[in-house]
Subunit: 124 residues, 2 copies
């Protein structure tokens, strides 16, 4: 299996406060996001905090999706990491829409590209 992956980090602000505190809804959104992107779901683990906030992960054959929600700030911290031919933006965009994010900052990090090669420079 190839090590190369695409890791999208998505910072969502101005989300629907009620959704951000609804663990069951977030879990459904995340499983749906994984499936829509063509991923195979392997493990699902979510946790509801008191007094508010949800953390969770969907482990897929192609890596993972995670969330940490802060309903009191309308903020959701999202990671979508995929290997293979999947596009992590499919799931990240679906999640942003489903949480009604008003502001979305997204960037992508390449993963598993191989160790940095330090070439020996021959003395002149």
């Amino acid at each position: 299996m190839k090590t190369i992956g695409r890791h999208v980090i998505s910072e969502l602000w101005g989300c629907d406060l009620t959704k951000l505190n609804d663990m069951n809804k977030i879990e459904r959104i995340f499983v749906d996001a994984a499936l829509r992107s063509g991923a195979e779901v392997r493990e699902v683990a979510f946790h509801k905090f008191a007094p508010q906030g949800v953390s969770g992960v969907v482990i897929i054959s192609e890596s993972h999706l995670t969330i940490h929600s802060f309903p009191e700030h309308g903020y959701a911290s999202i990671d979508v990491y995929t290997c293979g031919n999947l596009d992590p933006n499919v799931a990240a965009n679906y999640i942003a829409d489903a949480l009604n994010a008003q502001t979305k900052e997204t960037f992508e990090i390449p993963r598993g590209m191989g160790p940095v090669a330090v070439r020996r420079i021959q003395a002149m």
Copy 2:
């Protein structure tokens, strides 16, 4: 709860091949890494792939730790994301040592800093 977090991405190469394929060992290493960094463990979910490889997550009160291992390449893809006063490097360094990584590339991403403010520039 404050939204600010520190997310360390750690690309480990030249790891111990046997450890990378041992789900129970990896799970212990990750729970130990979380506890050593002062985190509170909330959920633990790991998955063993056929013919090889392990994916998993430890959800902590302060965010999460994840791994995807590729034993055939000696590669482990690590994320340690912490909120509060925890230093994610404590767990990331412990994991790298425990997996006998020969090469470690690490970088840190600030999370939850707030939406980018676009200030209106007054016309002259």
